[in-house]
């Protein structure tokens, strides 16, 4: 298997590529660029048609194998969400809308067309918000256990209250198998985990992980859509996935057994096989 190549494609289109920056986990080499007034770490790797991957809220470093596999078939663009990158976002940048417009601007700035927009969990929510605003640069949507749409009754939890769960229960809700062991994390990875939690709260504390308006506009996401769910997701249940799929005509739902909320981490091969066989097939 050839190693994925890191490409700085069309550097002239990156308005402000300043430097090769090392992100704060110290593991990935990234380009630093500016979109509007927002500084963004963007990793570009692989070759093939463009794919924008919006990462899940937790465990960015554990999602790297998935990104590497995507890069075998796509040119994968992976931005780090503002705040999650260790920087403080601008004072007027604090809603899911801001993230959606930021990445729509990013696609425009890079002049990407025919994009497979992939997002997991919190990133899946951003992808949905982008798709209902403008699908003009998109060819397909790949949504792995996305958040963001309110479907249950007012006294039901669509999304488990992770912040109110003991740490062990929280991890059991997120993983079908053995969860990551914090004792093995580096100091930087632990700090990153705390940053991740901080910025989930920053963008989505109340209402908790949804946009009340999103459900009624789902019909605007007009591109072929693939929903992928973990069969043992204790954070957002597969039943929620089925209800969401029913709201998105034509969407294909695959439930991956043996995976919790992050099938791209826990069942990488199965997730890739599903993606290659679905509406996003490259």
């Amino acid at each position: 298997m050839p190693l994925p190549t890191v490409l700085n494609r069309d550097i002239s289109k990156l308005v402000a590529v300043n430097q090769q920056a090392t992100d704060y986990e110290g593991q990935y080499s990234m380009d630093q660029m500016t979109v509007g007034s927002v500084t963004l770490d963007l990793e570009v790797q692989g070759s093939g048609p463009p794919l924008l991957y919006l990462h899940a809220e937790h465990y960015r470093h554990l999602q790297q194998p998935f990104i590497d596999r995507l890069a075998e078939s796509w040119t994968v663009h992976t931005p780090r969400h503002p705040g999650f990158d260790g920087r403080t976002p601008p004072g007027d940048f604090r809603r899911i809308d801001d993230l959606a417009y930021l990445y729509l601007d990013l696609m425009a700035q890079l002049d990407l067309d025919g994009v497979t927009l992939a997002g997991a969990s919190f990133g899946g929510w951003i992808a949905l918000e982008m798709a209902v605003r403008s699908a003009s640069r998109l060819s397909a949507l790949a949504l792995i256990t996305p958040l963001g749409v309110r479907l249950g009754a007012r006294d039901e939890r669509d999304f488990a209250d992770l912040f109110a769960l003991p740490e062990a229960e929280r991890e059991r809700a997120l993983f079908a198998g053995t969860p990551p062991d914090f004792a093995t994390f580096s100091e930087d990875q632990l700090t990153a985990t705390a940053h991740d939690r901080q910025y989930v709260a920053y963008y989505a504390w109340k209402p908790y992980l949804y946009n009340p308006s999103l459900a009624r506009w789902l019909h605007r996401a007009t591109v072929p859509t693939h929903l992928i769910w973990g069969g043992e997701d204790g954070f957002v249940s597969p039943d929620y996935g089925r209800k969401l799929a029913a709201r998105m005509p034509g969407a294909k739902l695959d439930v991956i057994l043996g995976a919790g909320h992050y099938p791209q981490i826990e069942r990488l091969d199965d997730t890739m096989a599903a993606l290659r066989a679905g509406p996003c097939a490259p």
Partner: protein
């Protein structure tokens, strides 16, 4: 020095049954309202007694906890505003970042100030981490919400020529117009609790009364010194009346009796760690480096002794809490000497916020504790 009596109105009868966690997720079926009513009246009686003893009154509020059943601080304040005639009434305090209606806070404080004929001291606090969940208040933006609420409340209390508009990040009103206006002019004195030098700097710049709670010999001096420097740089005079310290006080006829009372009250301090860990570190409230360290290696809650060693809050003895400067206990002479020693260590202070009630101390001991303190310790402290 001014002295204040503070109680959290605990529902201690439920503590044993509730076990390791006394907050946030505790079912209210554990609470017996008939017993609770007796306790409310008992605690209010103890505060009312303070009006005769010349001890000022301090209340606070917490939510969803058996350690403090003052869930609405302005309710005991309202009762005491009418029931007492002389002493000052401090609310320390109002968790304004967790209050979704800041104008309502201004209204409550203004009304209390008028009823009490200007005896209100107006505390604003950020609240403990476990307060985030009951309020569903975003911890990642709590600090900026706190300061915006502060700005809005003060403007609401000091604007007397009709409505103004407020379109803030966290609060929006088109017609802010608070009635009644406060009794004190321009408004009741402002107090803030401080636990870090960073907060001390902000409070010093404003020149408000700084209250440090149980910060002891180890942590109090840097907090006070930071305040003094910030106040001076901002042009405020940092007199002793700007500094308040909260400690546990047990006075008795004998050393043993005073220490027994403090030991019982210290069960309040020992409940501090009895909180499910996930509520101790709300996301974004504490620096990520601290949260990260706790994830990798959870640590028990401790307090520092004078020699720098640390003791677990859950099991600390009276001697250890006295050594730390968190408790003052013994005969009146001993208690005065301990307080004076602490006073000298921190460069002086103008307010002792004392818990003469807390934990498992009963009503008779509390009354005796307060009465003996007022007769034999208070006069000496007032002369400082």
């Amino acid at each position: 020095m001014q002295v204040w009596h503070f109680s959290e109105m605990a529902y201690h009868p439920g503590w044993e049954e509730l076990g390791d966690s006394l907050r946030n997720v505790i079912p209210s079926k554990v609470y017996d309202p008939k017993l609770g009513a007796d306790l409310y009246h008992r605690y209010l009686d103890e505060w009312a007694l303070c009006d005769e003893l010349g001890i000022n009154i301090m209340v606070n509020e917490h939510h969803t906890t058996a350690t403090c059943t003052t869930s609405v601080c302005t309710i005991p304040m309202a009762i005491l505003a009418r029931e007492t005639k002389n002493v000052r009434l401090l609310c320390l305090g109002m968790p304004i970042a967790n209050r979704m209606d800041a104008v309502r806070v201004a209204e409550e404080y203004a009304m209390l100030d008028v009823i009490s004929r200007g005896r209100i001291e107006m505390g604003f606090v950020k609240g403990s981490p476990s307060e985030v969940t009951p309020a569903n208040s975003n911890p990642a933006t709590l600090s900026e919400r706190f300061w915006e609420a502060h700005d809005l409340i003060l403007k609401a209390l000091t604007t007397h020529d009709g409505p103004f508009n407020w379109e803030g990040q966290h609060f929006q009103y088109r017609q802010v117009n608070v009635w009644p206006r406060p009794y004190q002019d321009p408004h009741p004195p402002v107090w803030m609790t401080v636990a870090t030098p960073g907060s001390a700097k902000l409070v010093g710049e404003k020149g408000y009364v700084l209250a440090s709670l149980n910060s002891g010999y180890a942590n109090t001096p840097v907090i006070y010194e930071t305040y003094r420097e910030a106040a001076k740089a901002a042009g405020h005079e940092a007199g002793l009346d700007r500094f308040a310290y909260l400690g546990i006080v047990g006075v008795g006829e004998t050393e043993e009796e005073g220490r027994r009372r403090a030991h019982q009250i210290l069960d309040y301090s020992r409940t501090t760690p009895r909180m499910a860990r996930q509520f101790q570190y709300p996301p974004g409230l504490v620096p990520s480096e601290v949260v990260g360290r706790e994830l990798g290696n959870p640590s028990p809650r401790t307090f520092p002794l004078r020699d720098g060693s640390r003791v677990e809050m859950l099991t600390g003895s009276v001697d250890e809490y006295i050594d730390a400067g968190i408790a003052f206990a013994g005969t009146p002479d001993t208690v005065y000497a301990q307080i004076k020693e602490f006073y000298d260590h921190v460069g002086g202070l103008g307010h002792l916020l004392m818990m003469c009630q807390g934990g498992h101390i009963n009503h008779e001991d509390t009354v005796d504790n307060l009465t003996m303190f007022s007769k034999e310790v208070l006069p000496r402290l007032q002369a400082l």
